[in-house]
Amino acid sequence: MNWQPVILWTDGLIWLLVGVVALTLWRKSPHGQLHEASVRLRQMPVAMTTGLVLFLFVAIALLDSLHYRAALPAHPGVGRQYSVEVTSVLDEILQPLLKYKEKTYSAPLAKHLYVKQNVTLPDGKIVRIYPLLRIDDIRRQTGSNDIAHRAGRGVLFGISFAVLVAACAASWLMMRRQCGIAELVRQLLAMDNRLPWRSMLLTVALLGTLTAVLAELAGAFHVLGTDKIGQDVLYETLKSIRTGVLIGTLTTLIMLPFAVLLGVSAGYFGGWVDDVIQYLYTTLNAIPSVLLIAAAVLIMQVYIEMHPAMFDSAASRTDFRLLFLCIILGVTSWTGLCRVLRGETLKLRELEYVQAARAFGVSDWRMMLRHILPNLYHLILISVVMDFSGLVLAEAVLSYLGVGVDPAMQSWGNMINAARLEMAREPIVWWPLAAAFSLMFVLVLAANLFADSVHDAFDPRGRQR
């Protein structure tokens, strides 16, 4: 094997989450109401298009969560050695972006550096000019490679990809619905109560074209420019996706057990259990959350500095910090859901079917698990989806304040933080900031729209309006 797998803590957790979600989706839900709601969700064009966008982001994050250490070139007499650097599958895919590292800033799609430098000409004279970028070598080697040409080829690729997907989907649908092509087109245009194929295909086409154009252009340009140390900004923003998605998902994974267990038992048992749990969440709520997060992160920083032996590599240290941030965000954010679940359990406890079950002598544990919890699923789902976008935005703010993820980790917050100085330059360097903000905007907007759809589909009160 010429590579050695590395499983970071957050990698393990995110794949565990994927496994759990896959298992729940695979097992057919026995619960009637939830099934109806998910059917409703599947018929919403907004939900399905934003779902596809979110899927793309999550897929990138997952690819970036498969880490390994590559083998070093073999030396005779020495056993197999592995590189200290931990890389991910995404790094491997984005290899072309890393090949040409510039000296410093360069604007998006530029041919020259953004800063004047001393260059020695072949005849030994030193001049101060904007030097050509290293990536320009490709163009000089391959000849006719202007922007329009490459972009056009990308659009062509994208469209053919979309046609291919459409053809596959159509033949699959024809097989399933047992009808001819004409009948299928008629059905799709009539917008019957099934998956919104039209909007989904359009989204796939758009995303595919965008990816193809970016990939084509990235072959000979730094599409989004380079940053201070000459690193490709497109690479950095794509790597930042993992941080954002992980914080949005792992935090809820950590917070859910607390919220569900405490909320349900507070509502179900009442009495002193309820008092203790209420005291607990009022106390935690009383502390301004930014301050609690800041305090906890400060303390963790001290802890890491005092125990350097615990972390064998830089990757594991930044990973520990990310995990810790998720835990802290989880600890500060479980109170909201806990309160909602407590209130709903209080209501459910008094319903007749629960009374009947109690009369049959069903144990407390079984009661909560079988009779109360299934009726809370929709609330849990809505809250998880609603929290996601807020957490992604919070990461940027916390990293800016210096209490977020590790400064060495690629994240939108760190990019924005660095951009403060770049905005003060003359002429200004705007592209890292613009890249970070726009990708974050797309992710958060998609998450918000998706959350709205989930809310509409799953909340029984929202439907009546």
């Binding site: 935690l284 502390i287 301004p288 301050l291 903000f437 974050m440």
Partner: protein, 325 residues
């Protein structure tokens, strides 16, 4: 009312004590004072004597909870927990790591914080309510759908973007106001007008969407149908009936944050260089000054509890069906 307030106060004490204990555990048990000393003196090549000196100078050289050598009640009072944590109940916050009196700093910094937070609160509330009313008035039309989409888009933009974009456009490109800074006195308006505007714009998306849903919920109630049956105009229904009833949840919801305005806004103050409490916290976080962070956590939670009590009072005042008992 007096009775209620007294009970509320007694209820607040265990919560404040819990907050206190939690922060104490975070700051002194997870990290011992020795760790803190090493943090400040540099992690390497620190002699034990230097650490002891730092601890004595900052008052961390006592036992944490219980002092066995002391006499009488001093066994409990001559400890770090009493000195650093319980003293806060009488608003004695001690000194920051650079030797300044924290209470005095808080007094001088509260003014600039309020100068931004209060206008943002009042004007923001007015703007959001007006936008929400506009959307409700045109509900079901394209204007409504466009407005909701715009609100979702606005709330999907990072708060940092509003600040950076506002600073760049208004202060750097158009040179209308200074980029950052602050002066005391009447002339300070030039420095606070941009932060106020930026904060209001940043809040429009989320706020107006939320208020719109509150108003829409009111619109579906029986009294609106009755008003329509009586033949009242849509305009009159919205501004006389729905607005008044919708304001109850909006205003009572806003009361919770009223005391917390005092704490200022961390981001805005730090970006615009306003010497308020928000930037005080950020500076303390960046300088790892635990004494200030502890004091601000305590004040913040005390204000939150005040806010909760105010909400209850506001409810009973706005809605006669709610009684304080």
């Amino acid at each position: 009312m007096i009775h209620y307030l007294g009970r509320r106060f007694l209820y607040a004490l265990p919560i404040l004590f819990g907050v206190n204990l939690l922060t104490f555990l975070l700051f002194f048990i997870v990290n011992t004072p020795d760790d803190m000393a090493r943090m400040h003196l540099g992690t390497k090549h620190v002699s034990a004597a230097a650490i002891a000196r730092w601890k004595t100078a900052h008052g961390y050289d006592k036992p944490l909870f219980y002092h066995p050598q002391a006499h009488g009640s001093d066994k409990l009072t001559d400890t770090v927990f009493f000195d650093k944590s319980l003293r806060m109940f009488v608003l004695d916050f001690g000194q920051s790591d650079d030797g300044r009196n924290i209470s005095h700093e808080i007094e001088t910094r509260a003014g600039p914080s309020l100068e931004i937070a209060l206008p943002v609160f009042v004007l923001g509330l007015l703007t959001n309510i007006s936008f929400a009313l506009l959307l409700v008035l045109f509900r079901g039309t394209h204007l409504d759908r466009f407005g909701v989409m715009l609100a979702v888009a606005l709330m999907s933009i990072s708060g940092l973007f509003y600040i950076i974009a506002g600073q760049y456009l208004v202060a750097k490109l158009w040179r209308l106001v200074p980029i950052s800074g602050y002066v005391n006195g009447l002339d300070s308006w030039r420095f606070v007008v941009l932060p106020i505007a930026v904060s209001i714009i940043a809040g429009i998306g989320g706020g107006s969407r939320w208020y719109r849903s509150i108003f829409l919920e009111e619109m579906g109630k029986d009294y609106v149908r009755t008003a329509r049956a009586k033949g009242l105009s849509e305009w009159r229904i919205l501004f006389r009936h729905v607005l008044q009833n919708g304001l109850i949840p909006i205003l009572t919801g806003a009361v919770v944050v009223l005391p917390l305005l005092f704490m200022g806004s961390l981001l805005t103050e730090s970006f615009f260089g306003i010497p308020g409490l928000g930037s005080y916290i950020i500076d303390a976080i960046q300088a790892q000054d635990f004494a200030i962070v502890r004091a601000m956590v305590f004040i913040g939670s005390a204000l939150y509890i005040v806010g909760l009590s105010l909400t209850d009072i506001a409810y009973s005042w706005a809605d006669p069906r709610v009684r304080l008992s």
